[in-house]
């Protein structure tokens, strides 16, 4: 799962935490709801800021298979990745943030290429500037002066978004083993990015597959170590964590494509 999504969930849970606290105000006879009905509000209030107003419908024809992989990823998380990440937290947080910056800087070609493919010239220039500044002043990308000094935000672009930008729909929902929530479009996008990402692509430096997995593993564990038990929260809180993740992922990606 992309790191930002993880982070989103952290905050989603925080805010829901705030939201739910409001619950106590409602008793069974629930006057506010009755009042709203009487004011003639429809079940859904008119929402001028809704994206398209429609209910979210996610095509999921292979749900049983997806649920099987979801189960697998869940075990992988709880029995392998999370315990490792917990132990890894012995490294001070600033150092882990720097490792995060380093991997992010290394992945610049993916964002740059996809910004260019979508003709988002401003983002492409920003990514290039960030790469030059962060690789030099930021000590091979350990720090992020591109953001802290120049105020240039990372342009989060990938090939799935590029396909979406040119009109590709979601296809259908997919849960990939190890990688997690995706869909047909983003799954294909992942393959595209594989050939541009310096760690996986043979275009840059020759890594054998063992080294490649080790680096990807480190990136994942490092990201998880910075996360505040988001997945545990989702797992504990949702009626059906599979559905929660499926719908969040779909909305999250649509919003990204629109940017």
């Amino acid at each position: 799962m992309p790191k930002n999504l993880h982070q989103s969930f952290c905050v989603a849970l925080l805010l829901l935490g705030l939201t739910c606290l409001n619950a106590g105000v409602l008793s069974a006879d629930s006057l506010p709801a009755t009042d709203n009905t009487e004011q003639g509000l429809t079940a859904e209030p008119f929402d001028p800021f809704a994206d398209d107003g429609a209910d979210l419908q996610v095509a999921d024809p292979i749900e049983p298979v997806n649920r099987a992989f979801f189960w697998f990823n869940d075990k992988l998380y709880f029995y392998l990745l999370k315990p490792v990440a917990r132990g890894y937290r012995i490294i001070p947080e600033p150092a882990r943030v720097s490792v995060d910056n380093l991997f992010s800087n290394l992945a610049t070609p993916v964002r740059l290429a996809n910004a260019l493919l979508q003709l988002k010239i401003n983002k492409a220039v920003s990514e290039l500037t960030r790469f030059i500044v962060n690789s030099t002043l930021g000590v091979i990308g350990l720090f992020d002066p591109g953001k802290s000094w120049l105020g240039l935000e990372k342009a989060d672009e990938d090939f799935g978004q590029t396909l979406g930008f040119y009109g590709a729909g979601n296809g259908f929902y997919l849960v990939l083993p190890v990688f997690g929530p995706s869909n047909l479009r983003d799954g294909i996008g992942r393959v595209g990015d594989y050939f541009v990402d310096p760690i996986s692509s043979p275009l840059y430096f020759e890594l054998n597959s063992w080294e490649e997995y080790a680096l990807k593993g480190l990136d994942t564990v490092n990201t998880l170590s910075l996360d505040k038990d988001t997945y545990e929260g989702i797992k504990k809180d949702s009626l059906d964590p599979y559905l929660f993740l499926r719908d969040s992922y779909t909305q999250y990606r649509s919003a990204k494509i629109g940017k």
Partner: protein, 198 residues
């Protein structure tokens, strides 16, 4: 300068400055959001206070800012009309309990993040307020959707990185209702509430 002219000018100036000022007296959505968020953060950061007391304070602050009944209804969406009055009431009650039981313990992990405020957009009695949470490694955009009550603004949805919580819940709950009916949904909610209260 003639006296009437001076008088006229002062009147115009008064109109320019005083009238807008009285217009601003009614709160703006962004101010309401800011006030509540700041107060919640203050309570969360007061680590000396007992946990239960802090939760009670936050509960009060949030009750005042969120239109929880509206959120419960939006979550059911189309299904709201298919539900009987009794089912609607049961849903609101369970929804409230569930969220309360579920999330109360989770907020305390996120006390040290910085919140910044962006634009405010208003259309009729609805407003959208943009904020961001800045963590050590990322910036997360959070938009609040508010509806105007008589004197103040109430939150009816929160959109985080493009993910609307209400839309998300609606979809999950809708799938469950379609497959298992309201009784199935309520059974799940009830067992979840029990599980969380243990």
């Amino acid at each position: 300068m003639s006296r009437p002219f001076v008088l006229f000018t002062s009147l115009v100036l008064c109109a320019l400055f005083v009238l807008p000022a009285s217009g601003w007296a009614e709160t703006r959505a962004i101010d309401d959001v800011r006030t509540t968020v700041d107060e919640v953060l203050t309570v969360l950061r007061d680590k000396a206070a007992p946990t239960e007391q802090r939760r009670e304070k936050i509960r009060g602050l949030v009750r005042g800012r969120f239109d929880f009944a509206l959120m419960a209804r939006s979550t059911l969406g189309r299904q709201w009309k298919n539900a009987s009055k009794q089912e609607q009431d049961t849903f609101i009650e369970l929804y409230s309990k569930l969220l309360e039981a579920t999330y109360i313990g989770r907020i305390e992990a996120y006390t040290d993040e910085k919140v910044t405020y962006g634009d405010e957009k208003t259309k009729g009695d609805k407003a959208l307020v943009e904020t961001s949470i800045v963590t050590s490694s990322v910036t997360i955009p959070i938009d609040y959707k508010l509806v105007q009550n008589v004197t103040e603004w109430k939150v009816y949805d929160v959109v985080i990185e493009g993910v609307s919580l209400i839309r998300n819940f609606r979809s999950s709950y809708g799938s469950i209702v379609e497959k298992e009916g309201f009784s199935g949904l309520f059974a799940r909610m009830e067992s979840k509430v029990k599980e969380l209260e243990q």
